[in-house]
């Protein structure tokens, strides 16, 4: 059965009542009053303590950071640097030993002087390449150049001693 839906509320009691004028404001006030109140625990004394702690922490961090950085630069070496250092020490000890042996068997001052100059020249080369190695220590070409330099010096000294010894063997003519 068809009917106008507005007619259904004509006799309803509530339909004639008016809301009070400050209804909306009252509602907000009550809502605000019902919220739990947030009390600030921060006070000036507490803030001062935090500020002091932050300043101390930053200062300490700055000191530790710069100090650690310097320590790393001085102490920590990569394994390859350690190996090259060890290899260098081993070679230099051998080169020094062979040099002493060489000057004890060589009776030609000119020969000794030329070898001294050549070894100095190779040592200068080594120092130059060492600087490159410190800046670029995982470049294999630099590592090979360093090892070859040491190897060459040692081999030169061994070869010349062998040469002199052979010349000094029994003379038949």
């Amino acid at each position: 059965m068809k009917q106008d839906i507005r007619d259904l509320f004509k006799d309803d009691e509530a339909s004639g009542k008016q809301l009070p004028e400050n209804h909306r404001q009252e509602f907000y006030d009550q809502l605000k009053a019902s919220r739990p109140r947030r009390t600030s625990k921060l006070n000036t004394n507490y803030l001062f303590k935090v500020a002091v702690m932050v300043v101390l922490f930053m200062g300490l961090a700055l000191i530790v950071f710069t100090t650690t950085d310097k320590v790393i630069e001085v102490i920590v070496e990569s394994p390859i640097e350690t190996q090259i250092d060890a290899l260098e020490q081993q070679y230099l000890a051998n080169i020094d030993e062979e040099w002493q042996n060489f000057i004890s068997v060589a009776n030609d001052e000119k020969l000794v002087n030329r070898y001294r100059d050549k070894l100095d020249d190779l040592d200068n080369d080594y120092q130059e390449v060492s600087k490159q190695f410190k800046a670029d220590n995982n470049n294999i070409l630099v590592i090979e150049t360093l090892v070859d330099n040491l190897k060459t010096r040692l081999q030169l000294l061994k070869d010349i001693q062998e040469h002199i010894n052979l010349l000094n063997q029994k003379r038949t003519l």
């Binding site: 020969l111 190779l122 470049n139 070409l141 150049t145 040469h163 003519l173």
Partner: protein, 393 residues
């Protein structure tokens, strides 16, 4: 089947490195030149490959190929390379240098357990010495020049290992190696007069060169095919040299530790502290040496005259095989070895007087190739008996 799939997967992993390598252009420039143009290349920590130009221009084309590098590392590496070519009053100047050494193939290792040298630096090789043909020397030159490039990972793996946690050595993973390939191609016309100053430079001349070259190289290497010009002037120190043939010029070698030369003709060499193998001595070669080791393997049909002036040198001498020749050795305090059993000694003299140690006159049979003259003191000459027959003269 699973095994095959695994192998294919491994192969793909290994080869994928080169597929994903990034090529970055560094520099490109060209100049037109004429027959009066001169050029100077100043190269430091640089590897170049020089070829003949056929269009009358000089071309510089430099790129780097990065394999395993991060974007940031690539930018850093490119920032370390400086290269510039200019032309002023018909003179071209190229300056190329890098903070770090750059080879044809440069390896860098970046892994937590670090790198361990796995070759014996103290090891020396005592190969038996036999006559080598000129062709075998050339083959050796080509292999040594390019073997490192063709199998870079194997080259690296043969020399370096990494360490396991238990302290044992293990092979390095391909993924932990960064490879940098340098491709600096320079093309020059054959009439360009060129001076090269190289320091830690690696120079390869890929074509026969008729250019007038003046080269000063300290550390690195110089590889060449034929170097043909009577005005060539080379000074190479603490470096490697390999040349398939040298015709004309003056060469100064100081500590060439691995010298390989296919043939020499009309060349004057001054050398010291070097080790040089020569495949064939052709016309008019002269060597003045101090304390080097030379290998003279073969002689040209018309070598005409060969002179050696030396002190403290070690000479490995193979005689001319098919033709007549003469030989004269003079000096003092020198030992001549014939195999293991026979040796001739020349006494030292207090006043440095030189004696005729050995003289072999030409036999007068067949074609006369030339005269070998040694002026040697404090030397050792090793004679190899594959052709030697004691002379009746």
């Amino acid at each position: 089947m699973k095994r095959l799939t695994f192998k294919i997967y491994v192969l793909m992993l290994i080869t994928s490195g080169s597929i994903f390598a990034q090529k970055k252009p560094v520099y490109s420039q060209s100049f037109s030149i004429d027959k009066n143009t001169t050029a100077i290349f100043n190269l430091e920590n640089t590897t170049v490959s020089i070829e003949e130009s056929t269009d009358g221009k000089v071309h510089f084309d430099y790129s780097l190929e990065f394999d395993g590098y991060s974007k940031k590392e690539i930018e850093e590496q490119l920032g370390e390379v400086q290269v510039k070519a200019t032309k002023f009053e018909n003179h071209i100047t190229l300056v190329s240098n890098s903070v770090s050494k750059i080879s044809d193939v440069t390896y860098a290792y970046d892994a937590p357990n670090g790198l361990v040298l796995d070759f014996d630096g103290f090891q020396t090789w005592n190969d038996s010495i036999v006559r080598k043909s000129r062709d075998s020397i050339i083959k050796e030159i080509r292999y040594n020049a390019f073997g490192k490039i063709n199998a870079p990972f194997k080259y690296f793996g043969d020399r370096f290992k990494t360490m396991k946690e238990n302290g044992k050595l293990k092979d390095i993973k391909r993924s932990d190696i960064k490879i940098l390939r340098s491709k600096f191609h320079i093309k020059i016309p054959p009439y360009l007069k060129l001076k090269i100053n190289g320091k830690d430079a690696q120079i390869t001349m890929r074509d026969d060169s008729m250019n007038e070259l003046s080269v000063v190289l300290k550390r690195g290497y110089f590889y060449a095919k034929q170097l043909i010009n009577e005005y060539n002037s080379f000074k190479i120190e603490n470096a490697n040299l390999r040349a398939e043939g040298i015709v004309g010029g003056i060469y100064n070698f100081n500590n060439i530790s691995k010298g390989l030369i296919g043939s020499l003709q009309n060349v004057k060499i001054t050398s010291e502290f070097s080790k040089i193998q020569i495949g064939e001595l052709k016309e008019n070669v002269s060597i003045a040496d101090f304390n080097s080791e030379y290998f003279f393997y073969n002689w040209g049909i018309d070598f005409k005259r060969f002179d050696l002036f030396s002190e403290y040198s070690k000479i490995h001498l193979f005689y001319p095989q098919d033709n007549d020749y003469s030989m004269k050795v003079m000096g003092n305090n020198t030992k001549i070895m014939y195999g293991k059993d026979l040796e001739i000694n020349m006494q030292p003299t207090s006043k440095g007087v030189k004696y005729n140690m050995i003289e072999m006159k030409q036999k007068g049979e067949g074609h006369f190739s030339g005269a070998i003259n040694f002026d040697i003191i404090h030397g050792i000459i090793y004679n190899y008996n594959d052709t030697f027959k004691p002379s009746k003269n």
